[in-house]
């Protein structure tokens, strides 16, 4: 029973991280119709920057002056940096391509992925970075006869509040109405006085912030290593294929499905864990090509 509870918590942990990444990917696609292949690398950048900031702060702080709360507050810096990078990428690299066919978007974002992977290697070196001290300081909670890292519950809570916050932001705020209007008909939106270019920058930066936040919150639990962005991008694509690209609800349900199947796979059929995920994605594509919540 205890192991069962822990596996459920592990599933929610993965789901929280995957939701943040997939929701950003979906938001960007929903508004700009861009499939951003560099999204996973933005997640990696968030992880690296946060780990570096936490490491640097610990290196410079007088022993004991930087408490746990201070370290936790440093983590979102990675997400903010990634959002700022996104705000530069959208108007310079992506905007000239909106009128071109999708293969151009894929080529440019793939090129961006390769460049950013090298930039990360250049800036942070090949050695993995971690903010594991945060996880150590938070300790563990006893669950039955086993223990569970307290920090993982912080990640789960972050994912939960991010889902509620994003839903509220998109469906209950003025900017959300403008965002949805722009995603449905950008021409008409501009005729109503909306500066579509500015909305695109903001939407892309928010999408990047989500990816960066995913990386930032995961780095105390898992080290930032070269290639993590590509690994997570593949899983994020499975999430959006299952849930439906462009749908927030789809990103949430897809993240939960992928995480629970993955956790069960690691536990019961580790040899074919990823194959099962791809089979589910294939089945959804065959039965409902737009995903569970996507629209044609």
């Amino acid at each position: 029973m205890t192991i069962f509870i822990i596996q459920i918590l592990n599933s929610f942990f993965y789901a929280a991280v995957l939701f943040l990444i997939a929701a950003g990917l979906s938001l960007i696609y929903g508004v700009m119709r861009i499939v951003n292949l560099a999204h996973g690398t933005l997640y990696a950048l968030g992880a690296y920057v946060s780990a570096w900031v936490v490491g640097s702060a610990l290196g410079h702080a007088v022993s004991g002056t930087l408490g746990l709360a201070g370290l936790l507050l440093l983590l979102p810096i990675g997400a903010v940096v990634v959002a700022a990078v996104g705000a530069v990428i959208e108007p310079t690299l992506l905007r000239p391509l909106y009128r071109r066919p999708e293969e151009y978007h894929l080529l440019v974002t793939f090129g961006l992925l390769m460049i950013m992977e090298d930039v990360i290697k250049f800036l942070f070196g090949p050695t993995p970075l971690t903010a594991g001290l945060i996880m150590d300081r938070m300790g563990s909670l006893p669950i039955g006869l086993l223990i569970y890292p307290t920090y993982n519950l912080v990640v789960i809570a972050t994912g939960f509040f991010a889902a509620i916050g994003l839903w509220w932001f998109i469906y209950r705020t003025r900017f959300g109405v403008i965002l949805r209007a722009t995603s449905q008909d950008r021409r008409m939106a501009s005729a109503l006085g909306i500066n579509v270019g500015r909305v695109y920058i903001q939407a892309f930066a928010i999408g990047c912030f989500m990816a960066g936040l995913g990386g930032a919150i995961v780095v105390p639990a898992q080290a930032a290593v070269l290639g993590i962005g590509i690994e997570v991008l593949v899983l994020a694509f499975v999430v959006v294929v299952v849930g439906g690209l462009g749908s927030l609800e789809g990103a949430l349900v897809g993240a939960l499905i992928v995480s629970f199947v993955r956790t069960a796979g690691i536990q019961f059929f580790p040899e074919i864990e990823l194959a099962v995920l791809y089979l589910i994605a294939t089945a959804v594509l065959l039965v409902r090509p737009t995903g569970l919540f996507g629209r044609a």
């Binding site: 003025r174 109405v177 403008i178 949805r180 209007a181 449905q184 008909d185 021409r187 008409m188 939106a189 501009s190 005729a191 109503l192 006085g193 909306i194 500066n195 579509v196």
Partner: protein, 240 residues
Amino acid sequence: MLLDVKAIDTYRGPAHILNGVSLQVDKQEVVCLVGRNGAGKTTTIESIMGFLPVRTGKIVFHDEDLTSLPPHERAKRGIGYSPEDCGVFPELSVGENLMISQWLGEEIVRKRNSGQRSDPQAQAFSVFPEVQNLLQRQGLHLSGGQRKMVAVARAMMLSPTLLLLDEAFEGLAPVVVNRFTDAVMKIKAMGISILMAESHLGAATRIGDRLYAIDRGEIIFHGPPKDALIDEKVVKALRG
């Protein structure tokens, strides 16, 4: 002069659509631009709104050259637009559709600070009171006539001084056409000028103060609507 379109040339891709089109709209005036499908009416409206770049010529509004401004800046200067397909956001409620232009309309009224037409929402609802009963409904679930009403009401909420209506009567039942004719008159009485692109000469002559006829991207007639009815060139161009 409210709007002065000066000899514009517009292209759609490589196709040269408008060839030296000039037209004017005065304050509190309804001007109709008639022509058959493909004559250049929508291209003219879209050029004025800023969706298509003008290669030569000028578009002057309230004595300001708008030629190089993007559409959202033109909307901010008081040009409301209702496209042929209405452009109602399908997954937004009617209330949300109206809200977007209302926000900008309030800003425009504040900047204008004239103290005259301060409640564009009340004005829009006085022209189309039935829109108030549709506020919760999604744009997707509106009938053709309802979509047209919402599109015009939404454009009015921007607090415009000029409304561009592209084929406002297209596809409407005769009873609804009469309803829209009354609406145009009410809007004009509020001091808002209207430039309407229209395929039917009959409808245009009933409501227009002045009329332009366009054929193959060139203005072939300009004058009082009753004169257009007896102009051989206009009648021939509209019949095809």
